[in-house]
């Protein structure tokens, strides 16, 4: 086993880099959350602007989760993305339908 050439399996290499990446995206998520809370707590923007703004902030944060923490940025995840996108499409149609009903 040990003498087989083995190019792609060095698990420890590059690991610290990916930890940094995760911590960075975590800090970005915290920042997005703080902005969303600040918008509501400190009356920074007009009331009718708050809903679209916090929706945009939440969407950015969710994409960060999906593509960094849940690894959708990696190769071979096309089917995962298809499942998720289909789910999100049906979800949006359902939610908007219920709200407008």
């Amino acid at each position: 086993m040990a003498q087989q050439p083995n190019t792609s399996n060095h698990a420890p290499s590059g690991s610290s880099e990916s930890a940094t990446k995760h911590v960075l995206s975590f800090l970005l998520m915290i920042a997005l959350t703080v902005v969303a809370f600040a918008l509501v707590m400190y009356d920074i923007v007009p009331t009718n602007m708050i809903l679209p703004l916090i929706l945009v902030l939440a969407t950015i944060q969710v994409f960060l989760q999906l593509f960094t923490f849940m690894h959708l940025n990696q190769k071979g995840t096309a089917f995962y993305t298809i499942f998720m996108v289909t789910g999100i499409l049906i979800a949006v149609v359902s939610a908007v339908g219920i709200i407008l009903m």
């Binding site: 040990a2 083995n6 060095h10 698990a11 990916s18 989760q65 923490f69 849940m70 939610a95 908007v96």
Partner: protein, 207 residues
């Protein structure tokens, strides 16, 4: 523990242990299909809540009830647990058993403190006259936030039992997909919470 040292000695262990076998690949693929379906479930609960949130039947509304400091604390706890969960998966793929269990343990503890805050919050609301039965606002609120809380509860139990299994069998091609899938579940819970704090609590404060 014996299994774990055995794994460590094997230099041919793949980079992504969770998808190293066909079984593991199928587990992860199937779990993404499940997450797509869960998205629809939560979207329907969100739609129902947003349609009914002003029907308070004379009871307290969100603006009176919600305490953003408590919500901010709960959000910080859940976000941090999402980070510790992804760090645990990183340690799993480095075959670092002790660090993985440590991060998983912190994830479970953070999840439990989030749940504690939520239970405290719900008890407080019931004393204020905001219950499942009090109004359409109450029913849709508890259906949505309660379903999320039930997911957190299940996630805590699931990850804890997987920690016990990992303690018995170590990090193997069989345990790794299970741990990875539970981590995906935990991130999904966090994704749902992002929309709950935005659309329920923040929007509720605006009116």
């Amino acid at each position: 523990m014996a299994a774990q040292t055995e794994v460590k000695a094997n230099p041919n262990m793949p980079n992504h242990l969770e998808t190293a076998t066909l079984d593991g690949k199928n587990k992860v693929l199937g779990f993404w299909l499940f997450l797509g379906a869960e998205t629809v479930l939560f979207a329907c609960l969100f739609g129902t809540y947003l349609a009914l949130r002003n029907q308070t039947m004379g009871g307290p509304d969100g603006q009176e009830l919600f305490d953003l400091k408590l919500v901010a604390a709960a959000t910080a706890i859940l976000l941090t647990s999402s980070l510790t969960s992804v760090l645990a998966m990183m340690k799993m793929n480095q075959l670092n058993y002790k660090a993985m269990q440590l991060w998983l343990g912190i994830t479970v503890l953070l999840g439990a403190s989030f749940l504690g805050l939520e239970i405290y919050e719900f008890i407080h609301y019931v004393h204020e006259g905001h219950t499942f039965m009090s109004s359409a606002f109450g029913s849709s609120f508890y259906a949505l936030v309660g379903t999320h809380g039930a997911h957190v509860t299940f996630g805590i139990i699931w990850i804890s039992t997987l920690m016990i299994q990992a303690a018995k069998r170590g990090i193997t091609k069989e345990t790794a997909p299970k741990l990875f899938v539970s981590s995906l579940y935990w991130h999904f819970i966090d994704v749902v919470w992002v929309f709950i704090f935005s659309l329920v609590y923040l929007l509720g404060k605006v009116g």
